[in-house]
């Protein structure tokens, strides 16, 4: 009768052999240039297992570039990134995915014509082991695998409370829900590190509250480590355990939300200073 039992905790935290509080990722002296433009200059910080780490800064501070470096989209000219104890050199986004890094985008990047369910299922594709041949056959091992993945996806749908849009093409959904579906797709990869690029951008207050709750639940219940970029200071200060502040591609502060809030450089960067 196990169809009736509750799944106790939704998809357990990925087992990466690390205890909470241990170093998950280290960014060391990273610099990134586009031609003559310095996007990031000599930045170092770390992300610990199980925390919510925020990267903030005014417009053009290099936040999204930093995220793109972490997820392998850009290769920095200088510096190294150590993820789960492994130093990585030049790599591509799909390597990052294999390593357990998933992300969402500032501008939602979903398959607009596909349903919520299919979009989240797409997030499972990295976990699929059967090759194209088996998948085309459909019966047998590929079907069994599909069912397993579907179960995981249903847990995510339940977790994000999007049952009512399961079959709706995401292009038809309001923006706030699209963001939620995108989070769902990232969660489907069962990442060790979840990168969120402005998860609250363009949302109204209620949507922001919902999203905050989901982010906290992902972190607390599933033990997923989260690094997020966000403009809404209220959200950042409430959600994060530690905050890195960038300005003009440089790190100007790093610490707990309270420490960062009272840091004079940060105040100057946000409010401007009289020169």
């Amino acid at each position: 009768m196990n169809v009736h039992s509750d799944p106790v905790e939704i998809v357990a935290a990925p087992d990466d052999g690390l205890a909470p509080g241990e170093l998950l990722m280290e960014v060391k002296n990273v610099s990134l240039r586009f031609g003559g433009v310095k996007a990031i200059t000599d930045i170092s910080f770390d992300v610990k297992k199980g925390e919510i780490r925020a990267i903030i800064g005014p417009n053009g501070a290099g936040k999204t570039s930093m995220l793109n470096v972490i997820n392998g989209f850009y290769t920095p000219q200088k510096g190294t990134i150590i993820f789960r104890g492994e130093e990585r050199r030049a790599m591509k986004p799909h390597h990052a995915v294999r390593q357990g890094i998933a992300r969402t985008f500032q501008n939602v990047a979903l398959f607009k014509g596909m349903s919520t369910l299919d979009n989240i299922m797409a997030g499972r594709s990295v976990k699929m082991h059967r090759n194209l041949f088996w998948q085309m056959l459909w019966h047998g091992p590929a079907l069994r695998e599909e069912i397993e993945h579907r179960e995981k996806v249903e847990e995510i749908i339940d977790f994000l409370e999007i049952q009512h849009i399961r079959r709706t093409p995401v292009g038809k959904l309001p923006y706030g829900l699209q963001k939620r579906v995108e989070l769902g797709r990232a969660l489907a990869m069962e990442p060790s590190l979840l990168l969120l690029d402005e998860p609250m951008a363009g949302m109204n207050l209620e949507e922001k509250e919902d999203m905050s709750r989901f982010i906290i639940d992902v972190n607390r219940q599933r033990g997923t480590t989260i690094a997020l970029i966000e403009h809404d200071m209220g959200v950042v200060m409430d959600l994060s355990d530690r905050v890195v502040v960038l300005d003009y591609g440089k790190k100007i502060a790093d610490g707990t939300p309270d420490a960062v809030k009272s840091n004079q450089d940060v105040i100057d960067a946000y409010l401007g200073v009289a020169h």
Binding site: H4, R150, E155, Q163, H164, L205, E209
Partner: protein, 662 residues
Amino acid sequence: MVTTAATAGMNLDTFPKYLLLNAQRFGGRPAMRHKDYGIWQSWTWSEQLEEIRAFALGLQALGLGHGDKIAVVGANRPRLYWTFAAAQSMGAVPVPVYADAVAEEMAYVLNHAGVRFAVVQDQEQVDKIRSFSDRIPALKEIIHDEPRGLRDYDHTGLTAFTEIQDKGEALLAADPGLAERWERGVREASGSDISVMLYTSGTTGRSKGVMITAAGAVNAARDTAEFDRLSENDSVLAYLPLAWVGDHYLNYAQGYVSGLCMNCPESGETVAQDLREIGPTFYFAPPRIFEGLLTSVTIRMEDAGWLKRKLFDHFIGVAKRHGEAILEGRPVPLSGRISYTLGRVLVYAPLCNVLGLSNIRVAYTAGEAIGQDLFSFFRSLGINLKQLYGQTEAFLYVTVQKDGEVRADTVGPAAPNVDIRISDTGEVLFRSPGQFAGYFMQDETTAETLTEDGYVKTGDAGFFDTDGQLKIIDRAKDVGKLTSGALFAPKYIENTLKFFPNIKEAVAFGHGRDFAAAFINIDLQAVGNWAERNNIAYASYQELAGHPRVYEMIARNVDETNLRLSKEPVMAGAQIKRFLVLHKELDADDGELTRTLKVRRAFVAERYAPLIEALYDGSTEKYVETEMTYEDGRKGVVRATVRIVDAKTYPVARQTAREAAE
């Protein structure tokens, strides 16, 4: 009519006795389904019995005793329904409470009922109840269905449903005679015990706890289940609020006596999809849901292609002419039958399928008046939609329409074994099998509600039509008079207005005044869609409501309403002379509607007093500030200048009214 049945030596006068019986006679048949994780999970009657027994014994171990009250708060979930039977099997009394009630209301009910246990769905309700726990000293334990978000909570006095069941299972395993003793307890229970306590939604003043005895509840349910020939082959979608008598009666009570299968939707937002997947055979919805269905069909057809639209219009025309006659087995010309059959293949069957109404054998609507057009629309598609009239105090049914004798403007003759009488003042009085045993701890109010010979006063004004069907006009105390002496029945006027798809809600005024006037709420879905098609831009409800072209459109509706009123000799005197379109939707969170979404007239009148004055002092606009509550509980203020418009009235209809209207 069978009033007592003796099966397996039991006098079947409680629901747990039916649980035992059903587990025996329908053991392998589905009793309950719930869509969870995208799949319909299902429980047979014998599995359901095991779930209920384990929970009941777990509760007993926690100290639940005979007569204790258990609050049940949440959406339609199997475990909450099991709580009813589990409590009843121990002689305890379930008290379902509206899950979306604000803390203040809920605290009152829980305290008044003196609940010792509260079985709730999720974190939201745990938070709500804990926020006023100091005001409900009797509460010992909160039991929750869904553990989500509760992990870091203080778990004193907070237990998971499954934990209680595990305790019950452990006791059963340890003591081989326990199951037998539990069953004996169920068999020996008395039908005179209170089966459930249902709090009224409080249209007037504080909610009252309506006590229903087990035997009364079972008898009433058995009568109506027989009336509609419900059986174990029927299924219902349980989506109505748990605390409402209609849900408890139509799903739980009728479900247990007939053995039908109850289906719980995945969530409140998926009801339409779940309805389509389940295709229930018995269905109840208040008129506003049917209205919503029709509105969405109309909107979708307006967006459909040319050919589809033509087909739809043609065959809906055919259905209008012949559909009801075919449903009722009246003679129809052969050509009509052929067209209708073709229409069924091309339009009606696919449409019913999309709406989830393909398998409907019996459907009911009640709660408020339903428009003739709306009612006929669904009936003409071949859906056996009927009306009933009921009350919490009657444990639902007072009158019910028989198959084939159905009208939109009446609510039918007395239900089986119900006696109805109209008092000298025009109030409807009844005596019924499910009649309540009294209001909990309010003997005085109970006495006021009963006549000397034991009839219940409904508080509704009505009369029997020539064919013996009851017609309800309004709340007895709301029926008033204009200064001219003409009868003023606000609800009648409001209902006539609400039959227009653009008008969602209306409040009429006129008692003791010179003429009748009305507040109108537009229907955002219908009017919004109209605005989209007509290139009218708007940023908010308020802006759309105040748009000159919306006013023009509503004015046409009011005009039509007056024309209809003028044709009813009794109502013609109270046509709407002036109206306004309200700048804000009436909302239960602001106290303007009850939780069952009925207008709280006195409250609205007081809150919008300046607007009412403006209706009568001849001004053409009025500036108002209104406080409103957002979904998260914060309060804000809406400011608006509301326009007031005159409407045309018609002379009282004579014989020639029809021609004059042309």
